[in-house]
Amino acid sequence: MPAIILMVAFVGFSSFIVDAGIPLGEAVFMTGMVWALPAKVLLVGAITAGMSLPAAFLTVALSSIRLMPMVAALIPELRGARTPTWHLLLLSHFIAITAWVFAMERIRDVPREQRVAFFAGFGITLTLANIVLVATIYSTVDALPALAAGALLFMTPVYFLTSVWSSSRDRSSKLAFVIGLGFGPLFHQIAPEFDILYAGLVGGSAAFLVDRVMAIREAA
């Protein structure tokens, strides 16, 4: 299910990349090497705008800081007692929003020794499937009716809504989820360049503090 939804999103990305005039080989290379969809959209934007390499690097890097807390939150659940760090470094490449949401929701049901293998299987398959998808539909991607295309694009946020909620087990995460939904648009008005990052840091920290205060009150 999440794999199908992500592949639908990549159909949209393929038509975007064809419109931008990026050749097939580079489109496939980009899909495998960058993997995170928002970062790729920015990279293509930087390429078509004729940005210099340092400027493009900075744009993509600043927008991708969010990957760090996402990876950091998943690693303690993913690793086994003796998992070598270099395995985790290699696997971290396959963490982007869909794989993260899926792993956070399901990984607790997998025995600890098998979690690295479980994530490797899902994450690598997801990346490879989308590399193949971009390669095969590159030349045939054509306009769907607007109503159908819009409905397909709508699947991604609704899927994230439901599965992030199921993966939020503690009260702090549930609060963070609700606050983040509000803060995303709020910070988009205030600081559109770094809205996601600010919403995450401020919203997540606020949720954490509220949760601590509530825990102290309950204990008292």
Partner: protein, 117 residues
């Protein structure tokens, strides 16, 4: 300055993508692994990191609904918000099944657009 279009050689676009795309994203993933390796499961710092990550993802979701790309932008803003809320409500009250939520949201979105013309 060195742009994607600056050098004609076949390999240049690949170098450009590797530096501005791969390195710019994977360096954060590597830092995340190193930071995550130091976190103890269910410690307070772990709860904080998980909250920040959850709020980040929630902000991405809100932006996908409020400021969509492509053909989804043709649906009115209130219809998008209402359909997402209906999908989430269907998910919560009809047995926590993801596909139920997605179906309900899509039905509202498509139905609403047809009714509104």
């Amino acid at each position: 300055m060195l742009a994607y279009q600056s050098i004609e050689a076949w390999w240049w676009p690949y170098v450009f993508i590797a530096v501005a795309g791969w390195l710019a994203t994977d360096m954060w993933r590597w830092l995340g692994v190193l930071a995550g390796n130091r976190l103890k499961e269910d410690s307070a710092s772990m709860v904080w990191v998980r909250s920040v990550a959850t709020a980040l993802v929630a902000a991405v979701i809100a932006k996908l609904i409020l400021y969509p790309s492509g053909d989804l932008a043709q649906a009115p803003l209130l219809l998008r918000i209402g359909s997402a809320a209906a999908g989430f409500a269907a998910f919560i009250f009809l047995g926590k099944r993801t596909w139920v939520g997605i179906l309900a949201a899509i039905a509202c979105l498509v139905g609403g657009q047809i009714v509104l013309g």
